[in-house]
Amino acid sequence: MITLKHISKRFDVGDNLVTAIDDISLQINKGEFVVVLGPSGSGKTTMLNVISALDNASDGKVIIDGKDISNGGRKNHFQFRRNTISLIFQTFNLFPALTALENVQFAADMRGLDNSEQIAREMLEAVGLGARVGHFPHELSGGEQQRVAIARALATGNPIILADEPTGELDFKTGVQILQLLMNQAQEGKTVVVVTHNREISRIADRVIELSNGNIVSDGPPESGKADISELQW
């Protein structure tokens, strides 16, 4: 489903050349639940940006569902994201002028879904915010905002879900709820990539990719075998 071939991403910052990703190659299959681990600044968000064509790689190829997206035009990128990718941002990026419901509905509308409002209600229900649909982002706590962001991503129903620190602001109980939701998506056949620096989360993954300084330092099933979600604790 997702194939990266010798991907590098370098940033020019004045005289410095920052290498965020350094020659990464990997393949992620349909229906896989992948956790990307790595310390702050290791290149996790950058990798997601490259996969979602928000950013162009400096070198290498990104092949999604058999199509090389690394050098498609801007128009193709927009279409690709609209129909293939669901993004959950590390920084939420909700629309401050829209209510929780409208934020979620927005994504469904844009995807061209008919019953967008109903989908949005269901999604908010699923993330435990059924009672807060009419609230604006500034009326929600950080964790609630994050859940709206997740509901918004899931509302599109796109086959690839890229989640950047989806549990960063959440307490244990809610965090687990969200992870369960994401795992369900994988079971339905969607490809889910969760970025985190929380090693505990990686225990429930099908596969853990560990980044450090822009390089893959390990790639495989969790060290101690795949755990059940009920075994998690943090």
Binding site: T45, F89, T91, E102, H138
Partner: protein, 811 residues
């Protein structure tokens, strides 16, 4: 305080906002520029007029013998010579005529007036002629047909000294120069109170020459007088009247002071009234600029609020925190001042040259007006500083935690804002977004709407002025034409018996299918202390050529009945059936008239918006002592005869003073309007530009502020096209709201100005406040379009957006 860091920071702020800063500066500059550039127009014009009137030694008192009267020059001079207070006087002979200035194939046949001036004893002293081209007439020209043409008339038709000029009776003049004299600084045609430089030709000639041409040897009908420095004009007037009563009992006189000269009064009033319009315009532009500046600086400070909060949390003193936003205010102030001086200079040069062109004077004052330059500059500096100061102060007085926390304005609003926020809006969510964006900061949107509404109000106001004048003139034209649009009114150069050869040979010409005679006399109508000038036409009320169209009452054959304009009825406070006093000429001898008062009954009110026009039955001629006399012949040409043919034919006839073609009555007016229209287009251009700048700023700030939201939409795959469309919808909403408010506001000002100022200035007219839908629509469509389409300019900005960067930033 680390100043180097501070300056670097301020520099980065400027780099990020330079376009917005520049746009705001230009908006301010337009406002202050109009203020500084036009602030001194009144002074400039009044000084120039003072210089011109003094320079040509305008009369203090002008004595007109009642129409049709002539007196021997010598006797008049002798009779007035001894009056105390008169320093000098000159007799003149002024007669209406027809002027043929046809040149190079162009047929130029217009009404005119020959002013015979006394060139003896060292030349002209009072009401001298300033020469623009060629040479002046001198004593040596006495008896010769040497003539100076009015400069504006010559300029209008591009006539050069030496060109062929003929006057009625086919007399060839020796066109020696073109020039200006005080009474004709502006040409006000009798029929329409507007520009008439192409339709009326004043000609200045030596007195003896005019006496010869008209066969009035030794006679005059007009005297101009300059009094001693401190002379009591009223006393002098009484002495003059006494002298006339004693020496020429049968001849009436009309005495006019310098200040009452209608051209002079109009020029001075115009200067004053125009200044009020400039001031209003400058005020509106400044108001628009102020709104825009407050809007921008409010947003700018708002966007720095978190940083301000953080600085406060770090313990930075408030006055230092305030410095950073104030720097932007300062930048706007400096740029605005520079642009403002430039705009002011441009506006000043533009309008001054327009004035010089419209109403040329011999002498001009300097054009730069320092007081308004200084005030304008101060306003330009203070306005942006205050605009930035207010939101900054508000931002630094809140507790730091509020400043850090409040991500969005919506968090802190009550009342309308709150209500609007929760207002359900139907439709897909991207259709809702523009509404939501407007509603989440209603004050900000209101400022933008107001800024644009000021621009639209300006357009409405000026379009409204134009349309109202046009509507009024159309109404006048309609009234004049009524059921006889093809007729010509031939004004004779004197009174003639209705059956005289002069009259019958005009009417019986084969060119005309129908004709009749009428009388036109000047008079004064009064009632309960109110009194107004009137031009009274005596005509057969059963005429099958033309009778006035009545709004009220009935035409009457009776002597002593009168039909007046509705404006006259209103101003006198009378209606049909009331009796009013008419002061009118009464013929005492062959060439002498006197003014007498009679009571007349108002039997009808006609539809012409020109107040002076009144009509009486021809039966009233016995009241005036002019039985069986006429001074106007109305002719109806047979179909297919051209105006030029009629004019050339009448031109050959003896006794013809002037020919008015009812069908072409509005041409002179249209010529004058053309200039006004061009002027209006410039204003519209400037105003639309200002609306554009305001809209551009609002959009550009929106894009800046919403960069994260836009990046998020891009991340979700929403195309730039759709995002732009959403912005266009938002701008259209603002544009439409601004337009509606602006039209209402402009219409209100228009009505207010019509009913007060214009009514005073052009009190001879019933002005009809009108907005032509078509002309207005064009401006409005332009306004809405410009505002609506500004987001297109942000496309580049969005294409080049660093999406991951925008998404990454934690607010």
């Amino acid at each position: 305080m680390n100043w180097r860091l501070f300056w670097r920071w301020a520099w980065r702020d400027l780099k990020r906002r330079w376009l917005q800063v520049a746009a705001i500066s230009i908006i301010i500059a337009i406002g202050t520029g109009i203020y500084t550039g036009l602030g001194g127009e009144e002074e400039f014009r009044i000084n120039s007029m003072d210089a011109s009137y003094d320079g040509l030694n305008m009369y203090d008192i002008r004595v007109d013998l009642t129409d049709g009267s002539y007196l021997p020059h010598e006797q008049v001079v002798d009779a007035l010579a001894e009056i105390e207070g008169i320093r000098s006087l000159e007799g003149r002979l002024i007669v209406p005529t027809q002027v043929d200035a046809s040149n190079n194939g162009d047929v130029i046949l217009v009404s005119g007036e020959i002013v015979g001036m006394d060139m003896q004893d060292g030349g002209l002293d009072i009401n001298q002629v300033y020469i623009n081209e060629g040479r002046n007439i001198t004593e040596a020209d006495g008896g010769n047909p040497a003539a100076v043409l009015d400069y504006k008339f010559a300029r209008y038709y591009e006539l050069e000294p030496g060109d062929d000029i003929h006057i009625a009776g086919n007399i060839q003049l020796d066109f020696v120069g073109s020039g200006q004299t005080p009474e004709y600084f502006m040409i006000i045609p009798e029929s329409l109170a507007f520009f008439g430089e192409g339709s009326f030709a004043p000609i200045f000639m030596p007195l003896e020459s005019v006496q010869q041409i008209t066969g009035q040897a030794g006679m005059i009908n007009n005297i101009v007088i300059v009094t001693d420095e401190n002379a009591d004009l009223e006393a002098v007037t009484q002495d003059i009247e006494a002298a006339f009563a004693a020496n020429f009992a049968e001849t009436g006189v009309d005495i006019e002071f310098k200040d009452d000269n209608n051209v002079r009064a109009m020029l001075y009033e115009d200067a004053k009234a125009d200044q009020e319009i400039w001031d209003l315009m400058a005020f509106l532009f400044l108001a628009g600029a102020a709104l825009a500046v407050f809007n921008l600086s409010g947003r700018m400070v708002q966007s720095q609020r978190r940083e301000i909060g953080i600085a406060m949390a770090l313990g930075v003193p408030r006055h230092i925190i305030a410095l950073r936003p104030l720097m932007v205010g300062l930048q706007i102030a400096i740029l605005g001042t520079i642009f403002g001086i430039f705009f002011g200079f441009a506006a000043n040069t533009g309008f001054t040259s327009l004035i010089k062109d419209l109403a040329p004077l011999p002498y001009w004052d300097q054009t730069v007006h320092y007081p308004s330059l200084i005030t304008g500059t101060i306003i330009g500096i203070v306005m942006p500083l205050v605009a930035v100061m207010l939101p900054t102060l508000r931002a630094v007085i809140v507790p730091p935690i509020d400043a850090i926390r409040s991500g969005h304005l919506v968090a802190k609003q009550g009342g309308l804002g709150k209500w609007l926020t929760y207002l359900p809006i139907p439709g897909k969510s991207f259709l809702q977004m523009p509404f939501r964006n407007i509603f989440r900061s209603p004050w900000r949107a209101t400022f933008t709407v107001l800024g644009i509404s000021v621009a639209i109000a300006l357009i409405t106001l000026f379009v409204g002025f134009l349309d109202s004048f046009v509507a009024t003139m159309d109404e006048a034209e309609l009234a004049y034409r009524h059921d006889s649009p093809n007729r010509f009114v031939v004004t004779l150069d004197n009174f003639y018996p209705v059956d005289s050869e002069t009259v019958t040979s005009i009417g019986n010409d084969a060119l005309f299918s129908n004709w009749e005679t009428q009388l036109e006399l000047g008079g004064m109508l009064s009632h309960n202390g109110a009194e107004f000038q009137s031009a009274i036409t005596l005509l057969p009320m059963n005429s099958d050529i033309w009778t006035p169209m009545l709004l009220e009452g009935n035409l009457s054959d009776q002597m002593g009945t009168i039909v007046i304009a509705d404006k006259m009825a209103e101003d006198l406070g009378v209606t049909v059936g009331d009796a009013i006093i008419l002061e009118h000429p009464h013929r005492e001898g062959l060439f002498s008239f006197k003014l007498v008062k009679s009571e007349v009954e108002v039997v009808g009110i006609h539809n012409n918006p020109l107040r002076p026009l009144s009509y009486m039955s021809i039966a009233s001629q016995s009241m005036m002592g002019v039985e069986e006399l006429t001074n106007q012949v109305v002719v109806v040409p047979v179909p297919g005869v051209s105006t030029n043919t009629v004019r050339s034919t009448l031109f050959q006839q003896a006794g013809v003073g002037s020919v008015t073609d009812i069908a072409e009555l509005s041409n002179a007016f249209d010529d004058g309007l053309e200039l006004f229209k061009q002027f209006l287009q410039v204003i519209q251009g400037v105003v639309i530009f200002m609306a554009f700048l305001i809209a551009f700023n609002a959009t550009s700030i929106n894009v800046d502020e919403r960069v994260r939201e836009i990046a998020t939409m891009f991340a979700f795959g929403l195309p730039i096209r759709t995002v732009t469309r959403m912005q266009i919808v938002e701008n259209l909403l603002i544009g439409i709201a601004g337009t509606i408010v602006g039209v209402g506001f402009g219409w209100f000002i228009l009505q207010a100005m019509m009913s007060t100022r214009i009514e005073e200035q052009l009190d001879d007219l019933r002005l009809i406040a009108t907005l032509q839908p078509e002309t207005l629509l064009i401006s409005l469509a332009l306004g809405i379009l410009v505002v609506g389409l500004t987001p297109l300019l942000s496309i580049r900005k969005m294409v080049r957006m660093d999406i991951p960067g925008a998404l990454r930033v934690m607010e």
